[in-house]
Subunit: 259 residues, 2 copies
DNA sequence: ATTGTATACACTGCATACAATAAGCTTCTC
DNA sequence: GAGAAGCTTATTGTATGCAGTGTATACAAT
């Protein structure tokens, strides 16, 4: 998916319309939304590259490289990098670029400890506050999940939506922001658990139970189930680490971008 | 406290050293640390202005106004504003500047619900993980607090340190970040509870109990006490709101900055 | 008087030039 | 050959100009 074909930058004096057209082309207007700023584009693009493993964790990024890659000036890139740094996806190295953050097994455990705190609370609040529309949306996702248990590419966004709906139905912006802060680092953990069919089925079953509890307004049960859901996710991840290579031999991995 | 006496902006062509001097003056080198970037200065300065009420919540800020106020160009200001936006202190209005976020009583309740979730967990983790040095630091703060119960200006930073030490001793970066995200919006709630002598005494007593629990490695008790501490804080705030003016009549409040 | 339209203004978004900074390398001296 | 001083390079920090966007205002038409 050619990452934004754009020659290089018209040395600095082609027809003025040229750059305008380029800019318009760059902004994939998000279906009725307003045109996104280039900084947002950059942010999403970098995030996606990290998520898809096109940029390895531990890789070192610089403003100019990214600007060249995405065909924009350093200004929006700076903005995007700052944002990703505050999200914790990038680690700023004062005058030496930024590193893509790496999380080791201990970081992962810390992350899940916090998720185990927050997500059950969200499920409980959802059981109290969710409206019929929210519950219908959850059911719709369950139905879709059911027929896509072996299609991770479809399952992953569904899973995301599922958790987003619960979060939103919890009606607590601070809780949402706290969980979002944790979620944003999940891409650093590597492949999704849902690539594993067994885990996908387990997760789907748990989702169903959680929605049942929410529909019965049983906050306590939703809370317990959500906690178990998080724990199952951690178990799967730990098992994967135990099996696979320790994957801790990257030193400073060269820039994977550009020629 | 004259907000940085500085005429206006040298119309655009005084001696070039002038702006350099301004820049140097602005960077109060933080005792051995490296010189901070102007963006950091701006960030702190704006945050402080909000905290001290020199900029009202609901006020509308623009890049040029802030740049003129702080005597720097728009670039570092932009960066600072973006940071404050991602912290939630400012609300971005796409092409129209930014508003200083306002929190109503319901937002406050949501915030405290999350604090009630996170801070007890931190206290419990601290009870498990704190080293002797951490406990000594906590004791030192208790001692200082004890003699400054009627000096809010001194008490507020002490309180901050107290919570920071507990957070750090919890040894969980995700928990720390989640709580930091919540704390960063506390300035929006208005004056500190510690201005109230009665509350200051209550908080100090609770701090002592919490440290006792931590020292005895009694995680469960630390957790319960921390929860009670958060609840007490919410009670004081709610009582204050009940007494005072509802303070909800600002519509879009004019720019309070500049003449 | 009311509505529609053009124009002016205020502000941000982005690009680019330039300055500053820190690390690495080279070279010179002893 | 070792160490220090200075140069080089890589990278970020800052200023500023210009273009685009959204709002308000004034003016014309009904």
């Amino acid at each position: 998916m050619a990452p934004r074909s754009r020659s290089k930058r018209p040395a600095r004096s082609s027809s003025p319309d040229d750059s305008a057209l380029q800019r318009i082309a760059a902004r994939s207007v998000p279906a009725g939304g307003n045109a996104r700023s280039l900084a947002e584009v950059a942010c999403d693009e970098i995030r996606r590259a990290i998520r898809e493993g096109r940029v390895a964790t531990g890789a070192h990024l610089t403003e100019v490289d990214l600007a060249a890659w995405l065909g924009m000036s350093r200004t929006p890139i700076r903005e995007a990098m700052r944002r990703l740094q505050s999200e914790g996806l990038l680690l700023n190295q004062p005058f030496r670029g930024a590193l893509v953050m790496r999380l080791d097994a201990d970081d992962m455990r810390q992350m899940f400890a916090v998720r185990e705190l927050l997500e059950p609370a969200a499920a409980a609040a959802c059981a109290v506050n969710a409206g019929p529309a929210d519950i219908a949306a959850l059911r719709a996702i369950l139905d879709e999940e059911a027929v896509k248990l072996d299609n991770p590419a479809a399952l992953i966004p569904l899973n995301r939506q599922f958790h987003d709906i619960i979060l939103e139905s919890a009606r607590n912006q601070f809780l949402s922001k706290a969980i979002a802060g944790v979620y944003s680092l999940i891409p650093l953990l590597g492949d999704s658990n849902l690539l594993n069919g067994r885990h996908a089925r387990e997760a789907h079953a748990q989702h169903q139970e959680i929605v049942d509890a929410i529909e019965h307004r049983d906050a306590a049960r939703a809370e317990v189930l959500a906690r178990e859901h998080v724990r199952a996710s951690l178990r799967t991840r730990l098992a994967r680490i135990a099996d696979n290579v320790p994957q801790d031999f990257i030193k400073k991995t060269t820039k994977t971008r550009k020629k």
